[in-house]
């Protein structure tokens, strides 16, 4: 207890620094990954992508990230075992942040398919085992989380598959695809707004002292969907047929209709990413802050202050503008196969799946879900060639990231404890 009183401010400052480091890494790599599809399709410029990311990552974390943050800071570790010395949890969370940040840095330098989420979860578990003991880990919860890592990409893939098939049925395989694209385009935009806002609002805004009945949630989501669809409709109307391009590729004009629509999925994706990856990135920071504020009281219910999320958002924007834009540009040139129609399906499916996972408190990997969604489009015979070796890489990253994140966190935990006691 005395340690917390003595070094409380220092702990918070360290947590902020580590949190910034972590979110910088997320911005430099992860966000570039999720926004790359929209930049690559020509829907938005790199500059617009950074602005969209700044706004919607923050909104996602603030509005829909509460459950994921809670999972990271409370649900993985059983705190009753360390009720007498809560500083253990502070050292542990700091160690977990640093471990995840360092591992992410190493992995991204080498181009390994590592996810921020898995690093954080592995680090928290690693510290819990080393610092408290095997029994301190809520293994049932870990089981659920690991299951969600397998289920979520499959779900994303299934949704993307259905979306792709519907676009084929309603638009591409008709006698006048361009007219049908203009007709159905706003409906798809409506779906983006409706689904994301419904999942977010449905019993999900309690942490903002904003409780909505089921009917109210639906009504608001429909209203929001209509508003978005109206903007989408206005943008889609201005798309003209490009007869020259159509000679080369018959669906060139149809693809052009989907370009403005991708702006909406880009926003949805940034929102989804914020609700999950940013939320779990700042989870340990929130835990440290909560402990210091309550003077080490573990059971007290602490609110997630908005400035913590702002730090997360700030770190991401800095990461994006210092390095992420480069990644984004490269991604854009490498995924030419992801045309606006395909990109729309994959991004929308991924965004919806991530937000759904966030609502249930599951820390999932946005990148892995995006990969699953693209494979879903591929299963609809929609993409020239997908290299399925990536799946092996993802599975490997699960197997490797968890223990390495854990061991690093354990090492940093003992170092921090040594320094302060």
């Amino acid at each position: 207890m005395e340690i917390i009183q003595e070094f409380g401010t220092i702990f918070i400052v360290i947590a902020i620094i580590f949190g910034l480091y972590m979110t910088w890494g997320i911005g430099a790599n992860d966000v570039a990954n999720v926004m790359g599809t929209s930049v690559g399709s020509g829907a938005i410029t790199v500059k617009t992508a950074i602005i969209i990311a700044a706004i919607f990552e923050f909104l996602g974390a603030a509005l829909a990230g509460g459950n994921v943050t809670k999972t990271i800071r409370k649900d993985i570790i059983d705190p009753t075992l360390i009720a007498d010395n809560p500083e253990v949890l502070i050292f542990g969370m700091l160690a977990a942040l640093l471990a995840a940040g360092v591992w992410l840095m190493i992995a991204s330098t080498r181009g390994w398919p590592v996810s921020t989420t898995h690093s954080i979860v592995g680090a928290v578990v690693g510290f819990a085992i080393a610092g408290i003991g095997l029994e301190a880990v809520a293994w049932a919860k870990i089981g659920q989380i690991v299951a969600s890592w397998v289920i979520s990409p499959v779900l994303g893939g299934a949704v993307a598959f259905v979306l792709m098939m519907s676009i084929r049925k309603l638009i591409l395989n008709t006698s006048n695809p361009f007219a049908m694209a203009k007709k159905w385009g706003p409906v798809y935009v409506f779906l983006v707004g409706f689904i994301i806002s419904l999942v977010t609002m449905f019993k999900g805004l309690k942490h903002l002292n904003f409780e909505l009945s089921v009917a109210m949630s639906f009504a608001l989501a429909v209203a929001f969907g209509f508003l978005i669809a109206l903007i989408g409709w206005w943008m889609i109307q201005r798309v003209q047929v490009d007869a020259d391009a159509d000679k080369e590729f018959h669906f060139a004009s149809v693809e052009k209709v989907f370009v403005p629509m991708m702006i909406f999925t880009a926003c949805a994706m940034a929102f989804a990413h914020g609700s999950n990856d940013v939320a779990n990135g700042v989870g340990p920071l929130a835990a440290v802050y909560g402990l210091v504020k309550s003077g080490g009281e573990l059971t007290q219910k602490s609110e997630m202050p908005i400035w913590i999320l702002m730090i997360g958002g700030f770190g991401i924007v800095v990461g994006l503008s210092t390095y992420g834009y480069k990644v984004m540009r490269t991604i854009g040139t490498k995924i030419t196969e992801l045309t606006p129609t395909r990109g729309f399906c994959a991004t929308m499916a991924a965004a919806a799946t991530v937000v759904l996972a966030s609502r249930t408190g599951m820390p999932v990997s946005t990148t892995h879900i995006a990969v699953g969604a693209v494979i879903g489009v591929g299963f609809a015979r929609g993409i020239g060639a997908l290299d399925l070796r990536v799946i092996g890489g993802i599975v490997m990253s699960w197997i490797i990231t968890l223990p390495i994140g854990g061991v690093l966190a354990a090492i940093f935990y003992f170092m921090l404890r040594g320094i302060f006691t």
Binding site: A28, N29, A32, N33, G36, S108, T109, R110, G111, P113, M164, M165, R168, L172, N173, T174, S175, F249, H250, F251, Y323, K326, V327, T330, I331, K334, I335, E337, L338, T339, T341, T367, H368, A370, V371, V374, I375, G378, A380, R381, G382, I383, G384, A385, L386, D387, L388, R389, V390, G393, I394, S397
Partner: protein, 226 residues
């Protein structure tokens, strides 16, 4: 930091662009074949050699694209079409260029006499066979649209209709081949026996340009049926 991410690594190189590129070169190669027969009919040996050089150049250009495509087709690739079907189409395309090369090679290496009454039906048949190649190149050119529409709907029906047309062109060439052989045998006493045998082979080779072009179309029909 590496800019290769999990996400970018997911995207393999699409085989369809190089396949179409290959077919365009093969088509150009086939288009030279009427020119070489025209030069032969005109008795212009210098021109025959020129066209032969052009055909050989195009054939090796096609080979480079073919080998490059094969090299970039690892088994881990997931594609909207079966890998074996794709390789089969590539092989068929390649054999069109090979046949053109064989014809050109023979015409240069052995001075072939052309009976006057054969000239017109010969040129007609050659040009019809090249029609078949041009037509199948047009079909291959629709592959991007087929991938976009998932090999279904009006687009796939349009391609099926093109395949039907290709089959009709090929039956034309069969008929022309029979007539040309008949013409040849009618004059066999006035020609060197070896020439007759070689002309018979040549007629078959010309016909196989259309045969392989037709097989390309039929293979695509199989892709659509799945």
């Amino acid at each position: 930091m590496a800019t290769n991410t999990t996400f970018t690594n997911l995207f393999g190189r699409s085989p369809f662009k190089p396949l179409q590129e290959h077919m365009l070169v093969v088509k150009e190669c086939a288009r030279e074949v009427p020119k070489i027969f025209q030069a032969l009919c005109d008795g212009d040996t210098k021109r025959v050699k020129e066209v032969q050089a052009k055909i050989f150049e195009l054939e090796s250009k096609a080979d480079i694209i073919k080998n490059d495509l094969r090299a970039h087709l690892p088994k881990s690739l997931f594609m909207p079409v079966d890998r074996r079907d794709l390789l089969e189409v590539l092989n068929l395309q390649d054999s069109v260029a090979d046949t053109a090369q064989d014809i050109a090679g023979l015409l240069v290496e052995r001075s072939m006499e052309v009976h006057d009454s054969m000239k017109q039906p010969l040129m007609n048949m050659v040009s019809r066979c090249v029609d078949a190649c041009v037509h199948s190149a047009r079909i291959i050119g629709r592959l991007d649209e087929l991938v976009e529409t998932g090999f279904r709907g009006p687009e796939s029906e349009a391609v099926l209709a093109m395949v039907e047309e290709l089959n009709m062109i090929e039956s034309d060439t069969d008929q022309m081949g029979v007539e040309l052989s008949r013409n040849l045998f009618a004059h066999e006493d006035s020609m060197k026996p070896i020439s007759v045998v070689l002309w018979y082979d040549l007629i078959k080779m010309i016909g196989s340009l259309a045969d392989d072009a037709e097989k390309i179309g039929n293979r695509l029909r199989l892709l659509l049926a799945r």
